[in-house]
């Protein structure tokens, strides 16, 4: 009885005490959550600043755009939100792809030279002058989804002087779990 009395005096039953404790704990946790999330935001690296390169060729793929742009004066801008291509010439090709829509990236380095055609004599001649490889062509293929969910892709040729920077920039902005392995 005493116990019962004292409980009624405080205005709380054993069950309501537990509820009160849980409410206090919940309130404390709720207070801490924005703090934790803001700490996470602070720890997250800021999105990379947009960068632009010339010396990029467009080899087709973008839905609704006809032709290619094989001029090295084309410009490619990579930002956190989009990849923008600006062609040159009389009818310049221009397009923009949202980085969020990109599903895979594939790099390929195609080496050309005396041995490119499997020519043994060419390989021997190349060996005599020190190397059979004259140059490497750098290509990047981006697979992405159109607004209706259907697949599309774009094939770009990069220059030897910018290919590493562009690949790194693309890797930084493309959703990490979706990017394909570099070859």
């Amino acid at each position: 009885m005493t116990t019962s009395h004292s409980q009624s005096a405080s205005g709380a039953t054993p069950g309501s005490g537990r509820v009160l404790a849980l409410m206090v704990l919940g309130a404390v946790l709720l207070q801490m959550m924005p703090l934790a999330s803001s700490r996470q935001e602070a720890g997250k690296p800021p999105p990379p600043a947009p960068r632009t390169w010339s010396n990029v060729m467009y080899l087709g793929g973008v839905a609704g755009i006809r032709g290619k742009s094989l001029d090295w004066k084309n410009r490619l801008t990579v930002s956190a939100s989009a990849i923008r291509f600006e062609g040159t010439g009389k009818q310049p090709i221009r397009f923009e792809i949202s980085t969020a829509s990109i599903r895979a990236m594939d790099y390929s380095g195609h080496k050309r030279g005396n041995a490119d055609n499997g020519n043994f004599i060419g390989g021997l001649a190349g060996g005599l002058i020190g190397s059979s490889i004259k140059s490497t062509d750098h290509y990047v293929l981006l697979e992405y989804l159109l607004p209706d969910g259907s697949p599309s892709a774009v094939l770009l040729r990069l220059h030897k002087d910018n290919q590493e920077e562009i690949i790194a920039a693309l890797r930084a902005v493309i959703p990490a779990t979706e990017a394909g392995p570099a070859r």
Partner: protein, 160 residues
């Protein structure tokens, strides 16, 4: 093995090394058709007009604008399979599935980046591809393409 013979063999191996390594690392961005496939061009007797694609398909029309002199076989592959084989001033057409298609221009043409073309094919559409000896392949609009298809001969091909 005598010492000069062993030296000669070693020299030959060293000279051939770049050939082997270059082939091992070479990667094309778009796979062409099989290199060892031999094809024969077939000329139908009747003049052919380009039909509309079947339901659920897209159509590719390919034309080869050759240069003066002897004409050699050129080929267009889609996703690693030869789909058209032509000589100069000939055209062909075939259906493809919608989606991203990887085109490669091969045969007796120089290996260069103009030989690759990506196409996002849409159902019911017709894509006109012009191939040249020097400048690879590119897509034309239907108006420009009709000039070629009206003058050129329609051909198909068979695998030998």
């Amino acid at each position: 093995m005598t010492r000069p013979a062993a030296g000669a063999l070693l020299s030959l191996m060293l000279l051939a090394m770049p050939c082997v390594t270059a082939d091992a690392v070479a990667q094309e961005p778009v796979q062409c058709g099989p290199e060892d496939e031999k094809n024969e061009i077939v000329k139908p007797k009747n003049k052919q007009t380009v039909p509309a694609p079947s339901p659920g398909k897209a159509m590719v029309v390919v034309m080869y604008k050759g240069i003066m002199g002897k004409s050699y076989q050129v080929k267009l592959s889609v996703d690693g399979q030869w789909r058209a084989v032509l000589k100069k001033n000939q055209f062909s057409f075939f259906e493809i599935d919608p989606g991203v298609r990887r085109l490669c221009w091969g045969g007796r043409v120089a290996k260069r980046d103009d030989n690759y073309l990506l196409l996002t094919a849409q159902t019911g559409r017709t894509y006109y591809i012009l191939g040249t000896f020097r400048d690879g392949i590119t897509e034309l609009d239907s108006k420009d393409a009709q000039k070629f298809t009206s003058d050129y001969d329609y051909v198909t091909f068979a695998v030998r």
